[in-house]
Amino acid sequence: MNYFVGIDIGASATKAVVINDGKEVLGYSVVDSGADFEVAGSEALTQARQAAGCGASDTLIVTATGYGRRNVPLADGTRTEISCHAGGSYHCFPHAHTLIDIGGQDNKVIKIDDSGRRTNFKMNRKCAAGTGAFLEEIANRLKIPLANLNDLAEKADAGVQIGSYCTVFAGTEILARIREGVSVEDIVKGIFSSVIKRILEMDPMAGNVVMSGGVVEHNPFLVKMLEDRIQKEIFVPSNPQLTGALGAALFSLEGKGKGGLNA
């Protein structure tokens, strides 16, 4: 039997999704990207194919995406994460929308039309302000486990203002707030607000809005905060962190991984 696989090797996490020719997700995995993208890709693939119940004789068609897309020896082809996130998102929400993906190192705002075509995209500028790396840095500064950020933000009363673009300068601002005795909860809510500000300055949030990515998966309160800010409902796939890998798997199914046999 043929299975179609997408592997998304991101800056922080590597995700793999296995689908069948009916576009059903049969299995998936998430592993740390670590320092060796090839190992991470291989590990993610092994776990996902086990979860999907693929046998040794089954044929896998693999499309790789993300920063490490060229580090997957088994891949039949590659696609950029921008195309894959757009494809995965449109599969989940097949209508025109604005996709916001918050990744470990990049934020993307992607415009998708009614037929699923990407009409425009923007990535954050070079620095990591407003990305997962920003949250990691601040959590580290506050000595808070990353997994606790969402709960802390939810418990906050007001939230503080973080003004700086720069992650390092934002860290300095946070030190000043600590000195002033601001609660950790309010500081965390403040950094969530900072992420939202960085998103809103990238592109107008036109039409329906979808959010995806690992940061959203682990911090659903961010979605709630953005909904309050833009005064509209935001759609989120059931596994937002897998959106890029799902899009890559769909490219495998369509035979459109670049460099692949069917490209």
């Binding site: 090839e38 790789a64 920063y67 897309r69 060229r70 580090n71 997957v72 020896p73 891949a75 039949d76 082809g77 590659t78 696609r79 950029t80 994460e81 921008i82 195309s83 990049d106 075509r117 990407r118 009409t119 425009n120 995209f121 990535m123 500028r125 070079k126 670049k258 460099g259 692949g260």
Partner: protein, 414 residues
């Protein structure tokens, strides 16, 4: 493992001749600098070079040197040195590269041309602010450092329609330079000599324009990356028969390519505009990257900036003022938008790539909503990448390439 396609840049045969004439030019400058047989003027690239040439100066162009520092990546070591003496990392990285190189007593000329040990010594420094204020500060540094007189032309900026008043002001400023330049050169100004130089510069402009416009053909015979190299003679040797002979040769080769359907990019699928400065330290890398995606970057306003169509030997001062004021960089947003729109249509382009060059706001045209307006009007996508002309600290390669690749995927899906 999937890998980027291995590609080769298609060699332009005339390159050999260009290398020779550029070498001859730099050796001549070096020789004159040593023996003092001729006066040397340093001049901004769109400065009043024609006037200087007519007065018998040999002209050296610091911007050309800045580009060489970028292309050889010597800039990486030089920029921080200039930063340390007070020149911000946010200002023109041609300036900071060049000043830093001077302080370090280094020049790519020594690497490229055996026996050349340093820059030619100037007798005068001449600028035109039609490009930016940075060129004046750049010359100002050398003026103080070398105790050499500096003079120049202050052109208005953000010019829409070029009025008679603007031109009259510039004409007067050019004329005002003459007495001092006569004194430094030891030669009396001769309008017939100016007419001769101008006629040759005009011919150079016509030929260079024809070279660039050969890219309206499909496939395009030359890439933007090729053009940034081959514009060298139009920058440093215009006003001479040497440059004109060279462009005759190059044009012939490109016309042959057009006639035979030979493109700079095999199986050209997409045609793009590069708006803004080149990223000098990544020319080859980016050139190969685009070729790997069968995408031809074939038009720019940057390379067009050395097309001085207004030159008219019968009216040298007024036409010189007009030619130096007509260039893209000095014009207002409305003019620039219409200019780009015209090129997109004539070259049948599929998209526009804006280079937001950190240290060159004067030639980064993405910052006031122009990409969005052009997208709407032309119905083609645009992409902005962040980088810099010389300072590779401002360029994130992975992000830039992912953006470009995603942009090409977007074009494929249209």
């Amino acid at each position: 493992m999937t890998e980027e396609k291995k590609v080769a840049i298609k060699k332009i045969q005339a390159t050999g001749q260009m290398r020779k004439i550029m070498a001859d030019y730099f050796y001549k400058l070096d020789g004159v600098s040593r023996d003092g047989s001729q006066k040397i003027a340093w001049c901004t690239s769109v400065g009043p070079a024609e006037l200087l040439l007519s007065l018998g100066f040999l002209v050296y162009y610091p911007e050309n040197h800045g580009a060489m520092l970028g292309a050889t990546r010597m800039a990486a070591d030089c920029i921080p040195v200039a930063n340390a003496v007070g020149y911000s990392p946010d200002i023109c990285s041609y300036l900071t590269s060049d000043v830093g190189a001077y302080i370090r007593k280094e020049t790519p000329l020594s690497m490229a041309y055996k026996g050349i040990e340093g820059l030619p010594k100037p007798d005068v420094l001449v600028f035109n602010t039609n490009q930016c204020r940075d060129v004046q500060d750049w010359m100002g540094w050398y003026s103080r450092e070398l105790q050499v007189p500096m003079m120049g032309i202050s052109t208005f900026r953000n010019i829409g329609d070029i009025s008679d008043d603007v031109l009259a002001g510039i004409v007067q400023q050019i004329k005002d330079l003459i007495p001092a330049l006569e004194k430094i050169s030891g030669n009396k100004f001769d309008i017939d000599k100016l007419r001769e130089v101008m006629a040759r510069s005009k011919r150079c402009s016509e030929l260079w324009k024809a070279v660039l416009e050969s890219n309206t053909s499909s496939p395009a015979p030359m890439s933007f990356f090729d053009a940034t190299i081959h514009m060298g003679p139009a920058v440093v040797l215009r006003g001479s028969d040497i440059a004109n002979d060279y462009y005759e040769l190059l044009l012939k080769e490109l016309e042959d390519r057009v006639a035979n359907g030979v493109g700079a990019v095999e199986e050209e699928k997409f045609r793009l505009y590069w708006e803004g400065m080149p990223i000098w330290g990544k020319l080859r890398d980016l050139s190969e990257f685009f070729i790997g995606f069968n995408t031809a970057v074939i038009a720019s306003s940057y390379c067009n900036s050395w097309v001085f169509e207004a030159f008219d030997p019968t009216d040298p001062f007024l036409s010189m003022a007009r030619a130096y004021t007509e260039i893209f960089i000095v014009r207002d947003e409305d003019f620039k938008e219409k200019y780009i729109e015209d090129i997109v249509r004539r070259y049948k382009l599929d998209g526009i790539l804006f280079h937001d060059s950190k240290t060159c706001p004067n030639n980064s045209n993405n910052r006031y909503g122009m990409p969005e307006r052009l997208e709407k009007r032309l119905g083609i996508p645009t992409l902005t990448i962040n980088g810099d002309l010389n300072d590779l600290r401002c360029y994130s390669e992975e992000q830039a390439k992912t953006n470009i690749e995603a942009f090409i995927e977007q074009l494929e899906a249209r």
